[in-house]
Assembly symmetry: C2
Homo-oligomer: 104 residues x 2
């Protein structure tokens, strides 16, 4: 038996109160945010990597302006770098985390 | 004479201590940031719109990690929406501003 097994996907588990932005249409994520905040939660973190960072900002701006009319506040934004891939395929990818707070 | 003249480009003037990210390679902007901060200025704002938002985050992360080794701090990040274009071509575009501070 080889000890080189199929590499597990190196994704950290998505914590609760977090939405990870990918390649779906903006409205899919906007809907997910609204449903999350209508289910009783007061806060939410929108995360994205690489090219999806622009989409994450679009999602937050559309949700805030069109669906919450300013009753959703950006509390904090942080950026960073993650190392993804393995072996020869290792590369850095930029990340963003946008922390949202529903106004009372 | 028509009163519909060539619309002036609706770009607000770029303030000092600001770099606007577009479609150049990341290293072009990283170099611009380094030159700016080596010329005596202690702070700098990196701005971008639309798809260039992801590039702006890449530029900041590469500059911070590769060229400043942590001696460049992200002080604040803000996102917003700008209305661009005129007439039938009006549309919203997301924006980001990343405020950088050189450590003493």
């Amino acid at each position: 038996m080889s000890d080189v097994t199929q590499a597990p996907k190196q994704r950290s588990p998505i914590p609760p109160d977090t939405i990870l932005i990918g390649k779906k249409p903006i409205m899919a994520y906007a809907t997910a945010i609204m449903m999350h905040l209508q289910s009783g939660s007061q806060q939410l973190t929108v995360k994205a990597r690489g090219r999806a960072i622009s989409t994450a900002v679009d999602v937050v701006e559309v949700t805030r302006r069109r669906f919450f009319g300013g009753k959703l506040t950006v509390k904090e934004i942080s950026i960073g770098t993650e190392v993804i891939g393995e072996g020869a395929d290792v590369r850095n990818v930029s990340t963003i985390e946008i922390h949202l707070q529903k106004n009372q």
